[in-house]
């Protein structure tokens, strides 16, 4: 499928969702669009609905209200396999019940292309090797997944998503609990993928890196979209202090580098709020 820049990857209109056991709406009146080739970061406090919104956008949950379109077609009209061939999705957690090697893990990304019976062919092996190299886990390919460090695990999981050869990535907190170098290497990888035309939707708690790497931020608050736009327009002291319930100061990235001037958020001491 040939995509033009700024085609609409996702469009969600007035989504509403409540978990069967939930006591409030997890997502309420959420409207947003994601264009192709864009990096969009979902930000907001814990429990603000970031993971739920991702689940709704990839069809893992059906909204109670509103509707979602993927590539201009209603999400409900897509089968799970059709979605998996176009969107590489990374859940927040995965706990393997039995050991797998990194290569086996990445090879799982070919499932949507293989189905139940077809044997993996040359294309599949190439996709797997390319993904291993892209995420720099080719040297770990025969290691057991559970023996990897946190950063290596996330890179291996990202490699699986890339092995799907998708048009878009939807990643739920791909950089949670990573050190600086591991986290930066993931963001750099995502920027490189976006430069090649891939759409990236991710959730994160790192507002400062989101401000530097994402084209747009969507700030969620209690399941609603509190702000949506460029990092400069979303990361405002008043909005953030309200949404997070904590005083913050927004400064400019001092540089050097291409991100100089990007808004950077510093949480303040609670008594220093003016």
């Amino acid at each position: 499928m040939k995509l033009r820049q700024n085609d609409v990857m996702w469009r969600a209109t007035r989504l509403g969702y409540r978990y069967p056991s939930g006591d409030r709406e997890a997502i309420e009146e959420a409207t947003l669009g994601v264009a192709t080739g864009e990096i969009v970061a979902l930000v907001g406090p814990n429990g603000s609905g970031k993971s739920t919104l991702i689940r709704l956008l990839v069809g893992a949950r059906e909204p109670n209200r509103g509707e979602t379109e993927l590539l201009g077609r209603k999400l409900a009209a897509w089968s799970a396999l059709e979605i998996a061939r176009r969107v590489g999705i990374m859940a927040q957690h995965e706990e393997p019940a039995f050991p797998v090697t990194v290569r086996e893990l990445v090879a799982m990304g070919r499932y949507p292309h293989l189905g139940a019976w077809r044997r993996p062919g040359v294309d599949d092996h190439h996709a797997i090797e390319r993904a291993l190299e892209r995420c720099r886990v080719d040297s770990l390919a025969d290691r057991s997944f559970v023996t990897l460090s946190g950063g290596e695990r996330q890179r291996a999981r990202l490699a699986r998503a890339l092995a799907q050869e998708p048009l878009a990535l939807a990643l739920d907190e791909p950089t949670a609990a990573l050190d600086i170098a591991s986290e930066m290497s993931i963001w750099e990888l995502l920027r490189a993928e976006a430069a090649k035309g891939k759409t990236v939707l991710l959730s994160t708690h790192n507002l400062n890196l989101a401000a530097r790497y994402a084209d747009r931020l969507v700030l969620l608050h209690r399941g609603r979209v509190a702000a949506d736009g460029t990092p400069e327009s979303v990361l405002r002291e008043g909005t953030l202090s309200d949404v997070y319930g904590w005083p913050v100061k927004v400064m400019e990235h001092p540089g050097p580098g291409p991100d100089q001037g990007a808004p950077q958020v510093v949480p303040l001491h609670p008594e220093s709020a003016s």
Binding site: P20, V58, A60, S79, A80, L81, E82, I83, A84, R85, I89, M90, A91, H93, E94, E95, P96, A97, F98, P99, V100, E104, L105, M108, G109, Y111, P112, L114, G115, A116, W117, S144, V146, T147, Q164
Partner: protein
């Protein structure tokens, strides 16, 4: 060794195990006796022993062993739990209640077919009951609830069995206990056909699901994100593996341990995804049980030891050996 070579070697191992099972027993035949018996132009007694007694028993042992291995591997993937075995969800308990009722009420004495039918009915009721408990309001099958409801149902069936047994005469009591311990004494070509069809059908379906098992065992949400219809796969795998287990229990009673250690042995020795694991567990189970049954027949010949005792006595040390070797190799 490539996976294909391993599978081919295992097929030969199954054939070898069946051959050994034909050769040894209360009556010594010798290899020439086995050959003459099979080809039908030897001593009529040898012909009767090989064709009518040992062959159906050996083939049934292979089928039951294969079924237990396959069902065990399936339950472990489905429940994402290495402790799962074919009996963990109460299927054998339900079948045993059926069997004990049939024996206690005297139906089993009156008509031979009533015992398997009654056991199968009990197993089917157990499957339906556990499924009903485990399906939640959203009509989703939650594996934690499934595991719990299976264990609870199994405990309940055990209580039912004990209650039923406490009212039995000594003769029926003994018959019921022996049935529950498991054994292949009741082998017949009818049972071979039943088990063969069940195992053949189940293998095709489960092999078709094997790639999804890899993903589900790895993580349910991730499997769903990769396009696996998790709910459908889970329900189908549960039903197929349960029916297969029910068939094995009806054919040979509750033979313990095979369904637990065979999948783990295959995993430890060769690793690999379910596309290899499922056929390999089937074959290892099919090679193991005829050998165990031969031991059960030979050790105290002409008497017979309970097969479940042999599977544990032989299986446990072997499994411990494999486990120790592997954990020493890879401390992580």
């Amino acid at each position: 060794m490539s996976r294909g070579v391993v599978l081919a070697a295992l097929v030969l191992a199954v054939a070898g195990a069946i051959a050994v099972s034909l050769r040894f027993g209360a009556v010594g035949l010798g290899w020439s006796g086995v050959w003459e018996g099979l080809s039908g132009d030897g001593d009529p007694i040898a012909v009767a022993i090989t064709r009518d007694l040992r062959l159906p028993r050996a083939v049934l042992a292979a089928l039951v062993g294969g079924a237990l291995g396959l069902a065990g591997a399936t339950f472990q993937a489905l429940l994402r739990n290495p402790l799962a075995d074919p009996y963990v969800l109460g299927v054998s308990g339900g079948a045993a209640v059926g069997a004990v009722v049939a024996i206690g009420a005297g139906w089993a004495g009156a008509a031979a077919w009533s015992l398997p039918v009654s056991a199968l009915t009990g197993a089917a009721l157990a499957i339906a009951l556990v499924l009903r408990i485990a399906t939640n309001v959203e009509r989703r099958l939650d594996v934690r609830v499934l595991l719990l409801s299976g264990v609870v149902a199994g405990t309940f069936f055990n209580a039912c069995i004990l209650l039923a047994l406490s009212f039995q005469e000594a003769e029926a009591f003994r018959a019921a206990v022996f049935w529950m311990m498991g054994g292949l004494g009741g082998a017949s070509w009818q049972l071979v056909w039943m088990m063969g069809l069940a195992l053949g059908g189940a293998s095709i379906v489960l092999l078709g699901l094997s790639r999804s098992f890899d993903l589900i065992a790895h993580g349910e949400e991730t499997a769903g994100f990769l396009g696996v219809p998790v709910q459908r796969v889970r329900l189908l795998a549960y039903l197929i593996a349960s029916l297969l287990t029910a068939g094995a229990v009806v054919a040979a009673g509750g033979i313990g341990f095979v369904g637990l250690f065979v999948p783990h042995t295959v995993r430890l020795l060769w690793g690999g995804g379910h596309r290899f694991l499922l056929p390999a567990t089937l074959l290892v189970g099919a090679a193991f049980l005829p050998l165990a049954d031969t031991l059960a027949r030979v050790i105290t010949a002409p008497g017979e030891l309970p097969l479940g005792v042999i599977t544990a006595f032989v299986g446990v040390p072997f499994f411990v050996l494999v486990l120790r070797r592997q954990t020493r190799q890879a401390p992580a």
